[in-house]
Subunit: 162 residues, 2 copies
DNA sequence: CAGATTGTTGAGACGAAATCTCAATAAGGA
DNA sequence: TCCTTATTGAGATTTCGTCTCAACAATCTG
C-alpha cells in the first residue's frame, strides 16, 4: 500500500493520545488518501456514502480535523466559501494557483518564496507554524477564452489590482 | 480630506456604471477609510449604528462587496471564521502575519516574493488578478510567553508542521 | 472471554455568517 | 416636480459547521 507510512503515523498518533482506532477513522483516512486533489467535507461525506459506508456528517468533520491535527491533512479556504482538505505526503508544503474562471487549482512549490518568508518572520520575531499562499486569476485556458471575447472592459468587470 | 482621491475614484466607479451615490454608500466609505486596521462586516455595522446612522446589515454587506469590486477595499479571511475588510491606498498590496496566540495582525510587504509570484504565474501561463499570503504563528510577545511555561509538549499540543 | 470503562458515533438541534426576497423608498434625469 | 428604476430595510433563508446526548463499541482488566 502506498500510504503505509502515513497510515502508521496516523495509528501512532491515535494510540499515543489514547484515542481509538475506529472503522470510520480508517475509512476516512483511506478516502482522503485515495483522492488526488482538494476535497471538501460534503463531497467526502457523499463519497463515503457512495461507497456504501454509513457515516454521519459530524463524524466526517470531527475526523477531518483530527487528520489535520495529526499533520496528515491540510485544511484551507481555496474558494470563496467553505474549507477544502488535501492529504499531505511527508509535510510536502505547496501553494496554490486558483482559476477564477473554471475553478481549477494548480499546485506549485517555491523554495525562493519559502526562504523569503523565513526572513520576514525572523525580522519580526515571529515564529511561524504554517502559511497560506494563493494566487487567484485566470489559467491559460480561461485567459485565452476571455481574450477572444474581449468586451469584458466595457461590461464593467472588476479591474485587476495585483 | 485625506481620502479625496479614493473618494473620487469611488464616485467615478459608481457613475461609470450608472449606480447611485447614496448616503449609505458614502457613510460606509467614510467609515472604512477612517479605520486603520482590519474590520469585519458586523463591527462595521455596529460602528455605523454607534455613529447614529441607521443602516441595515444587508446594505453593509452589499456595499462592502461594491467597495471590493471598485478596488478600494480588500476582503480576506484572516482568522478562522468570517471575512475581514481593509481599505486600500492606491493598490498598495501587502501580506499578513497572523498571531494564533493573541490574534494580532502584522502587515508586511515583500517585493522579492511579489517578483517570484510573477515568475510562477508566467511559468504556468496564469494571469493573476490578486493574491493572498498569510503566515500564521506566534508573534514575539506570545512566543516568549509560551517559551516560559514550556510544558506544552507534554500536554499533547499540535506539533507545528511548517 | 466477560464485564467494565470510556472514547466515539449518529441524528438532529443549534449557531454564525452571509445572502436573498420584495415592498417601500429615494437618487438622478427629464 | 414627476418618472423611472436602483437601492434600501427587515426578516426569512441558505450555507457551513459545531454541539448535544443517548446509544454504541474499542480497549483494558481480571
Amino acid at each position: 500500500m502506498a500510504n503505509a507510512r502515513e497510515k502508521e503515523q496516523f495509528l501512532q498518533y491515535l494510540r499515543g493520545r489514547g484515542q481509538r482506532v475506529t472503522g470510520e477513522r480508517l475509512a476516512l483516512f483511506e478516502e482522503i488518501f485515495s483522492q488526488h486533489g482538494h476535497i471538501d467535507a460534503e463531497e467526502l461525506l457523499a463519497a463515503m456514502k457512495a461507497r456504501g459506508l454509513k457515516i454521519s456528517r459530524a463524524t466526517v468533520y470531527r475526523n477531518l480535523d483530527l487528520l489535520v491535527e495529526s499533520g496528515l491533512a491540510r485544511k484551507q479556504r481555496l474558494g470563496s466559501r467553505g474549507f477544502l482538505y488535501e492529504h499531505v505526503h511527508f509535510g510536502q508544503q505547496h501553494d496554490h494557483l486558483v482559476c477564477t474562471g473554471c475553478g481549477r487549482v494548480v499546485e506549485f512549490v517555491s523554495l525562493g518564496i519559502a526562504a523569503l518568508q523565513g526572513e520576514i518572520c525572523r525580522a519580526h520575531g515571529f515564529v511561524p507554524t504554517r502559511h497560506t499562499l494563493q494566487i487567484a486569476g485566470l489559467c491559460n485556458r480561461c485567459a485565452e477564452a476571455s481574450a477572444a471575447s474581449d468586451t469584458a472592459q466595457s461590461r464593467g468587470e472588476v479591474p485587476a489590482h495585483v
